[in-house]
Assembly symmetry: C2
């Protein structure tokens, strides 16, 4: 498993929670499973999506796994704080799943494949533990889908550091556009992928705050250390880039980013 | 007025008609005006959008203007061929409108601002001929919103030629993301901008054909001459780029492009 590009800091935990709150409706309005369904959440991290998944599906039986014990600890607290009782946690690796074949009705994977060296292999493994007639849901971002106004040269340079740091760590932050061929290539059927675009201008102050200022800019800032240490960018350029990104949050600015949600059957 | 970047060839006329057919629902499902409304279409070109506008609003009184007599001629034929009778054509420049102030209920502008050196000034002029309480609708693309899979280096280079040729001709093919500040800055009120994203994968054969193969690739090929003559790109790179763009139309390919539709009041 690739080391998680965004790190495991407190600020990162906050960012993930903020992100989940802001994007909840856009990404999850249709993440609905029937009562009693056995759902595997693969790569739950600190539980930001787990909470949404469980609240939206209070009568589903959710099993959430992650490789990181630290993250699982936070996920447990997160779930407890929200008085959720239909989730069990398990430390496990997607590539070595400790489940019998065909043991889940549905599999749910959110913001995980982008961090894996071999997402196709991960999907194949997940398919094995899925019952025939079951579904897989995959949600991923695509950093190449991002553009904004004004679009300063340094802001673009800082943004590209995010893509490159992830590439250095063998992840793929451009994976959203690739969901369709990935799911198809892993043998799933009835593959359907939808873009879920976030468009922000100053008529939507909650997205200016929740998405640009509290999700996107902190995410970029999260790779500052790696970007500077590996000399991808000069500190002066970096600082100017971050300042320019803040301009997109002004009344004359706009910001676009697209997530992709894929669903397929077995 | 800037010279029209795509030229005025027969193939271009076909491309515009194809584009309009494919994107009609996405862009125009809500382009609806009340019976009797006086609508100004500014920059009608060969009438590709005029036909849609008139068909969707058979009881509106549409005035369509363009600077090019040649284009107007084709627009007239286009409208006649479709048995449309609620459109009158006029040769006129957006920057020197031959209308009294406040003479239209609605103004409609589609794929025009991107070709102008001063889109903000154009909006201000259009605002003058709009009645108080009237609306303006503006639809534009954004070439920076385009990404695809697989994303070959040469395909990106060819695509960037399209952006650069338009920039050389003093247009702005990245204008979609800018609609909100442009409309706001020109004094319109209640500005609302929505992205209209086209996502294509092989589960949508009609978009693979109508959008990737018949709209996007011909549009890129339309700047080949200028790109090669101004030595933006080598012919070998160009040809490889076009071949790579065709790969996005295969079963394993995907393609994304976003239009923006803005509406505002006076």
């Amino acid at each position: 498993m690739t080391k998680y590009v965004h790190g495991y800091s407190e600020r990162e935990a906050l960012r993930l929670a903020e992100q989940a709150d802001t994007l909840e409706e856009l990404l999850h309005y249709d993440t609905i499973y029937p009562p009693g369904a056995k759902v595997l959440e693969a790569g739950c991290g600190i539980g930001a999506q787990t909470v949404i998944l469980a609240k939206k599906n209070p009568r589903a039986e959710i099993t959430s796994i992650d490789v990181s014990l630290d993250s699982l600890e936070k996920a447990r607290e997160n779930v407890k704080r929200n008085s959720i009782e239909n989730v069990r946690f398990l430390q496990a690796d997607i590539f070595y799943l400790p489940f019998e074949e065909e043991s889940f009705d549905h599999v749910f994977v959110c913001f995980v494949l982008e961090h894996l060296q071999n997402p196709s292999e991960a999907l194949t493994r997940l398919k094995k533990v899925l019952k025939p007639g079951g579904t897989i849901t995959v949600i991923e971002g695509d950093h190449g889908s991002c553009y904004f106004y004004p679009e300063g040269e340094e802001a673009l340079a800082a943004w590209n550091c995010l893509i490159r740091v992830q590439a250095v760590m063998r992840g793929n932050s451009l994976i959203g556009r690739q969901l369709y061929p990935l799911l198809l290539g892993s043998g799933f059927s009835e593959v359907k992928v939808e873009p879920r675009m976030v468009y922000v201008d100053s008529s939507k102050p909650e997205l200016v705050d929740g998405f640009i200022l509290k999700t996107i800019i902190p995410m970029v800032e999260g790779v500052k250390k790696q970007a500077l240490e590996t000399q991808m960018i000069k500190e002066e350029t970096w600082n100017k880039g971050i300042a320019e990104l803040h301009e997109t949050a002004r009344p004359t600015g706009t910001f676009c980013y697209t997530f992709f949600k894929g669903r397929a059957g077995k």
